[in-house]
């Protein structure tokens, strides 16, 4: 697997986590818990964004692996 594909896999996992977190943030009745989930989602969102940018750079550098 190329580096870009590996990073894509990690991004996919993190996005899945983001979804689960969002679900829990909606489901929970406790305000404090909700806030913790929200906060974690924000940090997770930044990581996803950075990794996606990195994928773009990698694909620009090595276009032959694009789309893997």
């Amino acid at each position: 697997m190329t580096v870009a594909a590996q990073i894509k896999k990690t991004v996919a996992t993190l996005k899945g986590n983001q979804g689960t977190l969002r679900l829990y943030a909606l489901q929970t009745q406790d305000q404090e818990t909700k806030e913790v989930y929200q906060e974690v989602m924000d940090i997770n969102g930044i990581i996803i964004k950075d990794l996606e940018e990195r994928i773009q750079v990698l694909e620009y550098e090595e276009p032959q692996y694009k789309g893997n």
């Binding site: 590996q6 996992t13 489901q27 009745q29 406790d30 974690v40 940090i43 950075d50 750079v57």
Partner: protein, 286 residues
């Protein structure tokens, strides 16, 4: 009126009358009632029984006696709430048996409790060692309650300095195959949500004996058909594990890449995921 007819009608009337009386007396536990309450219950029971089998011939007088007794009982209860003095007279006061780890012998004598009896009561509470007791009190209903020395009390999350997720009571949403809409609504869910959850697990609601939703929104099911294996909610553990995996991935990316800037980005994000995991640990794992 014929005597047999009277014998039938009286118990029927008294049955519902006593039910009503007991309801208005209140819902204090009879096993933990104070002595006086116990005597009152006995008197109500005896008078009712005597009335039912026609020993007290004047029915109205018997009923009046019952009403007066119950009325006095309720009046005393109100007075006891309003005034500490009345409370102490009716219910008695608690007696301190052990203070600062030392047995108060004169108090034991006051309540006519021998040392053996005290030891037996303590053993019933799984306390075999007198040295572990800081404070013990004989309550007015005859129970002994004990405060252990602080180094002998069970450990709590607070003692360990661990943060734990707040827990609220779970709601029972399915009972005997029937969905309870009120408890679902109190959690902020609707029947469609429950339908989707059941579909995901793959059981029909008729097969569910009890279904409970905990404070984080996970559904626990007990089925009629015990041969069906249902997946228990493990989403939280999975979520935590996924974060752990992503962190490991980022660390390896950071080691593999030649690009200094990218390497820094990866390792800083690995740190961030570590922070995320620390924040989530109380909610997902405990």
């Amino acid at each position: 009126m014929q005597i047999w007819l009277e014998i039938i009608i009286r118990p029927i009337f008294l049955f519902f009358f006593t039910l009503f009386l007991v309801r208005i007396i209140g819902k204090k536990n009879i096993l933990r009632a104070t002595l006086f309450r116990f005597v009152s219950y006995t008197i109500i029971a005896v008078v009712t029984a005597l009335l039912a089998v026609n020993v007290i011939s004047d029915f109205v007088l018997g009923i009046t006696a019952l009403l007066v007794w119950v009325g006095l009982l309720i009046a005393m209860d109100y007075l006891a709430i309003k005034s500490k003095w009345v409370h102490d007279i009716i219910h008695g006061k608690e007696t301190i048996l052990v203070k600062h780890g030392k047995i108060m012998e004169e108090n034991l004598l006051d309540v006519r409790l021998s040392a053996e009896e005290l030891l037996r009561e303590l053993r019933c509470k799984k306390i075999f060692n007198l040295a572990d007791i800081e404070f013990a009190v004989l309550e007015d209903m005859g129970d002994i309650n004990v405060l252990m020395k602080s180094h002998k009390t069970p450990l709590s999350a607070c003692d360990l300095g661990i943060k734990v997720a707040p827990l609220t009571e779970p709601q029972t949403v399915i009972l005997d195959g029937t969905i309870l809409p009120e408890s679902l609504a109190s959690l902020g869910f609707n029947q469609e949500w429950l339908g989707i959850q059941l579909e995901t697990i793959g059981v029909s609601k008729d097969n569910v004996f009890i279904g409970q939703v905990d404070s984080s929104g996970d559904l626990y099911l007990d089925l009629f058909d015990d041969s069906i294996q249902i997946p228990q909610p493990k989403v939280k553990e999975m979520l935590y594990a996924n974060f752990e995996k992503s962190q490991a991935d980022l660390m390896s990316f950071s080691l593999e890449t030649q690009n200094k800037k990218a390497s820094d980005m990866y390792s800083s994000h690995a740190e961030k995921i570590k922070i995320i995991m620390e924040k989530l640990e109380p909610y997902l794992l405990r």
